[in-house]
Protein backbone atom coordinates (compact mmCIF):
# COMPACT_ATOMS: atom_id res chain seq x y z
CA UNK A 1 0.00 0.00 0.00
CA UNK A 2 2.79 2.36 0.96
CA UNK A 3 4.58 1.50 -2.28
CA UNK A 4 1.44 2.13 -4.25
CA UNK A 5 1.04 5.58 -2.70
CA UNK A 6 4.65 6.34 -3.49
CA UNK A 7 4.13 5.32 -7.11
CA UNK A 8 1.09 7.59 -7.34
CA UNK A 9 3.12 10.45 -5.87
CA UNK A 10 5.92 9.89 -8.38
CA UNK A 11 3.47 9.75 -11.27
CA UNK A 12 1.80 12.97 -10.12
CA UNK A 13 5.11 14.82 -9.89
CA UNK A 14 6.16 13.56 -13.32
CA UNK A 15 2.77 14.58 -14.70
CA UNK A 16 3.46 18.06 -13.32
CA UNK A 17 6.77 18.27 -15.17
CA UNK A 18 5.24 16.85 -18.35
CA UNK A 19 2.36 19.35 -18.30
CA UNK A 20 4.77 22.21 -17.66
CA UNK A 21 6.79 21.13 -20.67
CA UNK A 22 3.68 20.73 -22.82
CA UNK A 23 2.42 24.20 -21.98
CA UNK A 24 5.82 25.51 -23.02
CA UNK A 25 5.36 26.57 -26.64
CA UNK A 26 9.09 26.66 -27.31
CA UNK A 27 9.62 23.08 -26.16
CA UNK A 28 9.25 20.80 -29.23
CA UNK A 29 6.71 17.99 -29.19
CA UNK A 30 8.28 14.51 -29.18
CA UNK A 31 9.29 13.59 -32.74
CA UNK A 32 9.01 17.10 -34.12
CA UNK A 33 12.38 18.58 -33.24
CA UNK A 34 13.43 21.29 -35.71
CA UNK A 35 17.02 20.28 -36.37
CA UNK A 36 17.43 23.01 -39.00
CA UNK A 37 17.03 25.71 -36.37
CA UNK A 38 19.55 24.11 -34.06
CA UNK A 39 23.29 24.26 -34.01
CA UNK A 40 23.24 20.57 -35.07
CA UNK A 41 22.44 21.61 -38.62
CA UNK A 42 26.06 22.68 -38.97
CA UNK A 43 27.24 19.23 -37.86
CA UNK A 44 25.09 17.43 -40.43
CA UNK A 45 26.02 19.67 -43.36
CA UNK A 46 29.60 19.99 -42.10
CA UNK A 47 29.36 23.72 -42.64
CA UNK A 48 29.17 23.44 -46.43
CA UNK A 49 26.39 24.68 -48.67
CA UNK A 50 26.74 21.67 -50.99
CA UNK A 51 25.33 18.37 -49.68
CA UNK A 52 27.95 15.96 -48.39
CA UNK A 53 27.82 12.74 -50.46
CA UNK A 54 29.12 9.47 -49.02
CA UNK A 55 32.14 8.20 -50.95
CA UNK A 56 32.42 11.32 -53.08
CA UNK A 57 32.96 14.45 -51.03
CA UNK A 58 36.62 15.07 -50.27
CA UNK A 59 38.37 17.50 -47.97
CA UNK A 60 35.26 18.53 -46.10
CA UNK A 61 35.60 20.51 -42.90
CA UNK A 62 35.35 17.16 -41.13
CA UNK A 63 35.77 13.79 -42.81
CA UNK A 64 33.84 11.36 -40.62
CA UNK A 65 30.84 9.55 -42.10
CA UNK A 66 29.46 9.02 -38.60
CA UNK A 67 28.13 12.43 -37.62
CA UNK A 68 28.05 11.59 -33.92
CA UNK A 69 31.73 10.70 -34.04
CA UNK A 70 32.49 13.94 -35.84
CA UNK A 71 30.87 15.81 -32.95
CA UNK A 72 32.45 13.71 -30.23
CA UNK A 73 36.01 13.77 -31.55
CA UNK A 74 36.11 16.92 -33.63
CA UNK A 75 33.56 19.65 -33.04
CA UNK A 76 33.14 19.09 -29.32
CA UNK A 77 36.26 17.09 -28.59
CA UNK A 78 37.01 19.21 -25.54
CA UNK A 79 34.10 17.42 -23.85
CA UNK A 80 35.67 14.11 -24.76
CA UNK A 81 38.95 15.14 -23.19
CA UNK A 82 36.94 15.83 -20.05
CA UNK A 83 35.14 12.50 -20.38
CA UNK A 84 38.43 10.63 -20.58
CA UNK A 85 39.56 12.54 -17.51
CA UNK A 86 36.44 11.54 -15.58
CA UNK A 87 37.08 7.87 -16.27
CA UNK A 88 40.75 8.33 -15.45
CA UNK A 89 40.15 10.02 -12.12
CA UNK A 90 37.45 7.59 -11.04
CA UNK A 91 39.61 4.57 -11.91
CA UNK A 92 42.42 6.25 -9.95
CA UNK A 93 40.04 6.88 -7.08
CA UNK A 94 38.82 3.28 -6.95
CA UNK A 95 42.44 2.15 -6.78
CA UNK A 96 43.06 4.71 -4.03
CA UNK A 97 40.04 3.54 -2.01
CA UNK A 98 40.38 -0.21 -2.44
CA UNK A 99 44.12 -0.83 -2.34
CA UNK A 100 45.25 -1.43 1.18
CA UNK A 101 48.97 -1.67 0.63
CA UNK A 102 49.12 -5.22 1.95
CA UNK A 103 49.62 -8.19 -0.35
CA UNK A 104 46.48 -9.00 -2.25
CA UNK A 105 45.20 -11.75 -4.48
CA UNK A 106 42.30 -12.33 -6.80
CA UNK A 107 38.92 -12.85 -5.19
CA UNK A 108 38.59 -16.59 -4.70
CA UNK A 109 35.69 -18.02 -6.68
CA UNK A 110 33.41 -20.81 -5.59
CA UNK A 111 34.43 -22.98 -8.48
CA UNK A 112 37.69 -24.19 -9.96
CA UNK A 113 38.19 -23.19 -13.60
CA UNK A 114 38.14 -26.48 -15.51
CA UNK A 115 39.69 -27.33 -18.85
CA UNK A 116 36.70 -26.33 -20.95
CA UNK A 117 36.42 -22.92 -19.31
CA UNK A 118 40.09 -22.24 -19.82
CA UNK A 119 40.12 -23.23 -23.50
CA UNK A 120 36.75 -21.62 -24.21
CA UNK A 121 37.73 -18.34 -22.62
CA UNK A 122 40.95 -18.25 -24.66
CA UNK A 123 38.95 -18.68 -27.85
CA UNK A 124 36.34 -16.11 -26.85
CA UNK A 125 39.10 -13.74 -25.77
CA UNK A 126 40.33 -13.50 -29.36
CA UNK A 127 36.86 -12.93 -30.79
CA UNK A 128 35.87 -10.24 -28.31
CA UNK A 129 39.24 -8.52 -28.63
CA UNK A 130 38.93 -8.45 -32.42
CA UNK A 131 35.41 -7.00 -32.17
CA UNK A 132 36.65 -4.31 -29.83
CA UNK A 133 39.54 -3.39 -32.11
CA UNK A 134 37.22 -3.35 -35.14
CA UNK A 135 34.78 -1.06 -33.35
CA UNK A 136 37.56 1.34 -32.41
CA UNK A 137 39.10 1.40 -35.91
CA UNK A 138 35.75 1.96 -37.63
CA UNK A 139 34.54 4.50 -35.09
CA UNK A 140 34.37 7.26 -37.68
CA UNK A 141 32.38 5.12 -40.15
CA UNK A 142 30.01 2.91 -38.14
CA UNK A 143 28.43 3.09 -34.68
CA UNK A 144 30.82 2.65 -31.80
CA UNK A 145 34.18 4.13 -31.15
CA UNK A 146 36.83 4.40 -28.49
CA UNK A 147 34.65 4.06 -25.41
CA UNK A 148 32.58 0.92 -26.17
CA UNK A 149 35.56 -0.58 -28.00
CA UNK A 150 37.83 0.04 -25.04
CA UNK A 151 35.34 -1.55 -22.67
CA UNK A 152 35.06 -4.57 -24.98
CA UNK A 153 38.84 -4.99 -24.86
CA UNK A 154 38.64 -4.77 -21.09
CA UNK A 155 35.88 -7.39 -20.98
CA UNK A 156 38.02 -9.77 -23.03
CA UNK A 157 40.74 -9.27 -20.44
CA UNK A 158 38.15 -9.98 -17.73
CA UNK A 159 37.48 -13.37 -19.31
CA UNK A 160 41.13 -14.36 -19.00
CA UNK A 161 41.11 -12.95 -15.52
CA UNK A 162 38.30 -15.26 -14.43
CA UNK A 163 39.74 -18.33 -16.12
CA UNK A 164 43.35 -18.03 -15.06
CA UNK A 165 44.30 -17.82 -11.40
CA UNK A 166 47.77 -16.54 -12.12
CA UNK A 167 46.74 -13.99 -14.72
CA UNK A 168 46.71 -11.13 -12.27
CA UNK A 169 50.49 -10.90 -12.11
CA UNK A 170 50.67 -10.30 -15.84
CA UNK A 171 48.54 -7.20 -16.14
CA UNK A 172 50.71 -4.74 -14.28
CA UNK A 173 51.80 -3.27 -17.61
CA UNK A 174 48.36 -1.72 -18.06
CA UNK A 175 49.25 1.17 -15.79
CA UNK A 176 52.07 2.15 -18.13
CA UNK A 177 49.84 1.77 -21.20
CA UNK A 178 47.19 3.93 -19.54
CA UNK A 179 49.61 6.72 -18.70
CA UNK A 180 51.31 6.65 -22.09
CA UNK A 181 48.05 6.59 -24.06
CA UNK A 182 46.61 9.44 -22.00
CA UNK A 183 49.72 11.57 -22.38
CA UNK A 184 49.89 10.87 -26.11
CA UNK A 185 46.27 11.95 -26.41
CA UNK A 186 46.95 15.30 -24.78
CA UNK A 187 50.12 15.68 -26.84
CA UNK A 188 48.25 14.97 -30.09
CA UNK A 189 45.64 17.58 -29.26
CA UNK A 190 48.34 20.02 -28.16
CA UNK A 191 50.00 19.47 -31.55
CA UNK A 192 46.92 21.16 -33.00
CA UNK A 193 47.88 24.26 -31.02
CA UNK A 194 51.42 24.16 -32.39
CA UNK A 195 50.96 22.88 -35.98
CA UNK A 196 47.67 24.66 -36.59
CA UNK A 197 46.32 27.56 -34.61
CA UNK A 198 43.92 25.99 -32.16
CA UNK A 199 43.94 23.45 -29.39
CA UNK A 200 42.38 20.14 -30.54
CA UNK A 201 42.43 21.29 -34.15
CA UNK A 202 42.52 18.71 -36.91
CA UNK A 203 45.88 19.15 -38.62
CA UNK A 204 45.74 16.19 -41.04
CA UNK A 205 43.87 16.10 -44.39
CA UNK A 206 40.33 14.78 -43.97
CA UNK A 207 40.20 12.58 -47.11
CA UNK A 208 37.07 11.15 -48.66
CA UNK A 209 33.98 10.75 -46.49
CA UNK A 210 33.43 7.02 -45.94
CA UNK A 211 37.01 5.80 -46.45
CA UNK A 212 38.80 3.90 -43.71
CA UNK A 213 41.75 6.28 -43.98
CA UNK A 214 39.86 9.53 -43.65
CA UNK A 215 38.81 12.12 -41.13
CA UNK A 216 42.31 13.30 -40.19
CA UNK A 217 43.25 12.84 -36.54
CA UNK A 218 39.87 11.34 -35.55
CA UNK A 219 40.86 7.65 -35.90
CA UNK A 220 44.19 8.30 -34.18
CA UNK A 221 42.46 9.97 -31.26
CA UNK A 222 39.90 7.17 -31.06
CA UNK A 223 42.63 4.52 -31.01
CA UNK A 224 44.39 6.33 -28.15
CA UNK A 225 41.08 6.70 -26.29
CA UNK A 226 40.33 3.01 -26.88
CA UNK A 227 43.71 1.96 -25.48
CA UNK A 228 43.35 4.25 -22.50
CA UNK A 229 39.79 3.20 -21.70
CA UNK A 230 40.66 -0.48 -22.18
CA UNK A 231 43.59 -0.35 -19.79
CA UNK A 232 41.70 1.82 -17.30
CA UNK A 233 38.66 -0.45 -17.14
CA UNK A 234 40.93 -3.50 -16.83
CA UNK A 235 42.60 -1.83 -13.86
CA UNK A 236 39.19 -0.98 -12.42
CA UNK A 237 38.00 -4.59 -12.70
CA UNK A 238 41.26 -5.76 -11.18
CA UNK A 239 40.66 -3.50 -8.19
CA UNK A 240 37.13 -4.75 -7.71
CA UNK A 241 38.14 -8.41 -7.97
CA UNK A 242 40.98 -8.18 -5.48
CA UNK A 243 40.90 -9.10 -1.86
CA UNK A 244 43.48 -9.04 0.85
CA UNK A 245 45.52 -12.18 1.28
CA UNK A 246 44.27 -14.03 4.31
CA UNK A 247 46.98 -13.67 6.90
Amino acid sequence: MKNFLALVLVLLLSAGIIITLQNNDLFPVFGEAQVVNRVSDHYITKGSTQPIIWGETTDAEDGAANIVTSIVVNYRSFDTLGEVTVLFVSAMGVALLLSSGRTSKRLALNFKPNFMLRVGSRALFGIILMTGVYIILHGHLTPGGGFPGGVMIASSVLLLYLADDEFRSKIKGFKVLEGVAGSLYVIVVLLGLILATYFLQNFLPTGTVGDLFSAGILPIVYILIGLKVGSEISGLIDNFLTEEEAA
Partner: protein, 111 residues
Protein backbone atom coordinates in the same frame (compact mmCIF):
# COMPACT_ATOMS: atom_id res chain seq x y z
CA UNK B 1 5.41 7.60 -25.11
CA UNK B 2 9.04 7.15 -24.35
CA UNK B 3 9.74 10.77 -23.40
CA UNK B 4 7.16 10.62 -20.63
CA UNK B 5 8.61 7.33 -19.42
CA UNK B 6 12.02 9.02 -19.27
CA UNK B 7 10.70 11.82 -17.06
CA UNK B 8 8.96 9.28 -14.79
CA UNK B 9 12.28 7.40 -14.50
CA UNK B 10 14.10 10.57 -13.42
CA UNK B 11 11.50 11.27 -10.72
CA UNK B 12 11.54 7.58 -9.68
CA UNK B 13 15.31 7.78 -9.25
CA UNK B 14 15.04 10.86 -7.04
CA UNK B 15 12.27 9.16 -5.04
CA UNK B 16 14.49 6.11 -4.59
CA UNK B 17 17.33 8.29 -3.33
CA UNK B 18 15.09 9.90 -0.75
CA UNK B 19 13.49 6.71 0.60
CA UNK B 20 16.25 4.11 0.50
CA UNK B 21 18.89 4.03 3.20
CA UNK B 22 20.76 1.05 1.77
CA UNK B 23 23.96 2.21 0.11
CA UNK B 24 23.73 -0.12 -2.88
CA UNK B 25 20.06 0.75 -3.38
CA UNK B 26 21.00 4.42 -3.47
CA UNK B 27 23.59 3.78 -6.17
CA UNK B 28 20.94 1.83 -8.11
CA UNK B 29 18.59 4.82 -7.75
CA UNK B 30 21.25 7.12 -9.19
CA UNK B 31 21.62 4.73 -12.11
CA UNK B 32 17.87 4.63 -12.75
CA UNK B 33 17.85 8.42 -12.72
CA UNK B 34 20.73 8.53 -15.19
CA UNK B 35 19.04 6.06 -17.56
CA UNK B 36 15.95 8.25 -17.49
CA UNK B 37 17.98 11.39 -18.09
CA UNK B 38 19.83 9.84 -21.02
CA UNK B 39 16.57 8.66 -22.59
CA UNK B 40 15.15 12.16 -22.16
CA UNK B 41 18.19 13.74 -23.83
CA UNK B 42 17.88 11.43 -26.85
CA UNK B 43 14.12 11.94 -27.05
CA UNK B 44 14.66 15.69 -27.33
CA UNK B 45 16.47 15.19 -30.63
CA UNK B 46 14.15 12.58 -32.15
CA UNK B 47 12.56 13.35 -35.50
CA UNK B 48 9.80 11.03 -36.75
CA UNK B 49 10.94 9.36 -39.99
CA UNK B 50 14.45 10.76 -39.58
CA UNK B 51 17.47 8.56 -40.24
CA UNK B 52 20.23 7.59 -37.83
CA UNK B 53 22.96 10.25 -38.20
CA UNK B 54 25.48 8.13 -40.06
CA UNK B 55 26.27 8.61 -43.73
CA UNK B 56 26.50 5.25 -45.47
CA UNK B 57 26.06 3.74 -48.93
CA UNK B 58 22.30 3.69 -48.31
CA UNK B 59 21.71 7.10 -46.73
CA UNK B 60 24.49 8.77 -48.64
CA UNK B 61 23.68 12.47 -48.65
CA UNK B 62 23.61 15.07 -45.92
CA UNK B 63 20.52 16.56 -47.56
CA UNK B 64 18.30 13.77 -46.14
CA UNK B 65 16.44 14.19 -42.87
CA UNK B 66 18.42 12.96 -39.89
CA UNK B 67 17.65 12.91 -36.19
CA UNK B 68 19.55 15.46 -34.11
CA UNK B 69 23.10 14.09 -33.62
CA UNK B 70 24.17 16.49 -30.88
CA UNK B 71 22.09 14.96 -28.03
CA UNK B 72 23.55 11.57 -28.96
CA UNK B 73 27.07 12.92 -28.55
CA UNK B 74 26.09 14.43 -25.20
CA UNK B 75 24.64 11.13 -23.99
CA UNK B 76 27.84 9.29 -24.88
CA UNK B 77 29.64 11.65 -22.51
CA UNK B 78 26.94 11.34 -19.85
CA UNK B 79 27.01 7.51 -19.91
CA UNK B 80 30.77 7.39 -19.34
CA UNK B 81 30.53 9.95 -16.54
CA UNK B 82 27.77 7.86 -14.96
CA UNK B 83 30.01 4.79 -14.94
CA UNK B 84 32.75 6.77 -13.24
CA UNK B 85 30.42 7.88 -10.45
CA UNK B 86 28.94 4.39 -10.05
CA UNK B 87 32.37 2.76 -9.77
CA UNK B 88 33.43 5.29 -7.18
CA UNK B 89 30.21 4.80 -5.21
CA UNK B 90 30.64 1.02 -5.21
CA UNK B 91 34.23 1.34 -4.01
CA UNK B 92 32.99 3.58 -1.20
CA UNK B 93 30.26 1.03 -0.38
CA UNK B 94 32.94 -1.65 -0.03
CA UNK B 95 34.97 0.65 2.20
CA UNK B 96 31.95 1.39 4.37
CA UNK B 97 31.11 -2.28 4.72
CA UNK B 98 34.67 -2.99 5.84
CA UNK B 99 34.48 -0.24 8.40
CA UNK B 100 30.96 -0.48 9.80
CA UNK B 101 29.86 -4.03 8.76
CA UNK B 102 26.56 -2.74 7.47
CA UNK B 103 25.19 -1.25 4.27
CA UNK B 104 22.56 0.87 5.97
CA UNK B 105 23.55 4.52 6.05
CA UNK B 106 21.67 5.17 9.31
CA UNK B 107 23.34 2.35 11.21
CA UNK B 108 26.83 3.62 10.54
CA UNK B 109 28.09 4.75 13.88
CA UNK B 110 31.65 5.05 14.99
CA UNK B 111 32.68 2.49 17.51
Amino acid sequence: MIQYAAIVLIVLGIYGLLTNRNVLKMIISINVMEVGLNLFIISVGYVTDGFAPILSSVHNSSALIYVDPLPQALVLTAIVIGVGTTALGLALAKNMYNKYHTLNLDEMRDE
